[in-house]
Symmetry: C2
Subunit: 245 residues, 2 copies
C-alpha cells in the first residue's frame, strides 16, 4: 500500500497561551501573586486594565473571569474586583503555581515540594503494594523500562521518571491521590530540567527504582515503603546539593 501521507506537521501551532485574554490573565495574576495587589485591595477597573494592556474590555473581562475561577478575585458591580484572602487562592492550580513561583524563592519552594513527597509517596506506596491491579503494575513497569532505555539526564529520562511516580500514585487506587500527585510531579518535572544533571549518585537511580517495582510487584507494603523512602533519600541528596550550589 502507498505510504499514506503523514499529517502536514507544520508544527508552529503556537500554544493557546498566546491569546490576548491569556496574556491579560497572566499579567494580572502575576501582579496579585507578587503582592502588587495584596489580598483585600481593589484592582483597577476593567477600562483601566484595557488601557494598560491595549486590549478591549471584552478581553479584560475574560481574563478576570479566569482569575475569578481560580479564587484570586471576586467582582461586584459598582465595587470592582477585590483580591481574595490568600487561603481562597487555588495555589494548586497550574497557572497560579507558575505565577507564584515566578514571584517566589525557588529553593524554598522546591524543598517544600520534596517535603510533601516524603509524606505522600511512602503512604501511597503502601496502598499501591496492597491494591495495585495487574494493569497498574504493568504501567509502572513500562515507565521503569523507559527509564532504563533513556539516556541519563535526558529529557526522556525526566519524562519517564515523572510517569513512574504518577503510576505509583495511580496504583494506590485512591481517586484523590492522582490529582495531588499531578500537582507535585508537574512542579518537580520543571525543576528536574535544572537538577537532573546534578545527580549525586546517578548510577543508583535505576536500582532504586527497580526496588520499588519489585516491592509493588510482590505486593509487599513494607518493602514498598522502604524502597520509596530510599529513593526519596537519594533525591533529597541531589536537591540539597543543587540548592546549595
Amino acid at each position: 500500500m502507498g505510504h499514506r501521507r503523514m499529517k502536514p506537521v507544520r508544527a508552529p501551532r503556537r500554544k493557546p497561551g498566546s491569546r490576548v485574554h491569556s496574556e491579560l490573565a497572566a499579567g494580572i495574576g502575576r501582579r496579585i501573586l507578587d503582592g502588587t495587589y495584596p489580598p483585600g485591595s481593589l484592582l483597577p477597573n476593567e477600562a483601566e486594565w484595557g488601557l494598560m494592556f491595549g486590549a478591549s474590555r471584552t478581553a479584560v473581562r475574560e481574563a478576570i473571569r479566569t482569575l475569578n475561577g481560580k479564587g484570586l478575585l471576586v467582582s461586584r458591580p459598582k465595587i470592582g474586583s477585590r483580591v481574595e484572602p490568600r487561603e481562597r487562592w487555588n495555589l494548586l492550580d497550574r497557572d497560579v503555581m507558575a505565577w507564584h513561583r515566578a514571584a517566589l524563592d525557588e529553593r524554598t519552594f522546591l524543598l517544600s515540594l520534596q517535603e510533601i513527597r516524603r509524606i505522600l509517596e511512602p503512604g501511597a506506596a503502601v496502598l499501591a503494594a496492597a491494591r495495585r491491579s495487574p494493569a497498574q503494575l504493568a504501567a509502572l513497569e513500562r515507565a521503569f523500562a523507559d527509564m532504563q532505555s533513556a539516556e541519563i539526564s535526558s529529557e526522556a529520562m525526566v519524562e519517564a521518571d515523572v510517569r513512574f511516580h504518577l503510576a505509583l500514585l495511580a496504583a494506590a487506587n485512591n481517586e484523590l491521590l492522582v490529582p495531588f500527585g499531578i500537582v507535585i510531579e508537574q512542579a518537580l518535572a520543571s525543576m528536574f530540567a535544572y537538577t537532573t544533571s546534578h545527580a549525586v549518585h546517578p548510577e543508583q537511580l535505576l536500582p532504586l527504582h527497580a526496588a520499588v517495582v519489585r516491592a509493588i510487584a510482590s505486593q509487599s507494603p513494607e518493602a514498598a515503603r522502604k524502597a520509596v523512602t530510599a529513593l526519596l533519600d537519594d533525591t533529597d541528596e541531589t536537591l540539597v546539593a543543587a540548592v546549595e550550589a
Copy 2:
C-alpha cells in the same frame, strides 16, 4: 447604651454564583464531569450553548473561559471546544470538585478523602511539633478552646474542628501543605454536616484533640504523630459507621 442600629442587614445578598455566566459554567462543567461530554469529545459551539441556556454569546464565552482555566476544555478557532483528558482537569478546584461529587458516589469519595488524611496529617504533625511558632501554637489552642465551648455536633463545633486541623497543617510551616489541607478540610466540612451526629465516641473527641495540642506544645514529634493517628482512628470509626448506615 442606645442600641445603635445594626447594619441594615438586608442580607439577601445572593452570592456571586447566581450570575448568568456562573450558571453556564456550572451547567457545562457538570455535563463534563458526569460524562455527558467525555474527554476528547467536541462540545456544542458557543451559539448553541446560548440557545440552550437562553443566554448571550458573551455570557457563554465567559463561562467557557472559566472552564478553560480549570483545565476542563481547550478551545480553538474553527475546531470548537474539546474536553481535555481527565488528568489535565483541576480536580482539586472547589467548583470542579463540587461538580464531580454531584456526579459521583459519595461513599467512595469520603473514604478516599479520609485515606489521604491518614497519610498527610501524621506527617504534618511531626513537622508541626518540630517547627511550630508560638503564634501557630496559639492558633491551634484557640481552635481547641472553641471546640470545648461549642455544643457537641453543632455547626460551631464543625467549624472549629476544621480550623483545628488547618492550624495543625499551617504549623508545619510548609507552603504547600496549607493548600492541600484546605482542599481536604473543605471537602470534609461539607460532609461533617452529614456525619457529625453519628459520632461513635462523641465523648472522646475533646480528649483526643487535647492530646494533639499537648504534643505540639511540648514539641514532641513522635507523640504528635501518635495523637493525630489516634484521632484519625476515631474519625475512621465514625465514617465507617456512617457509610454503612
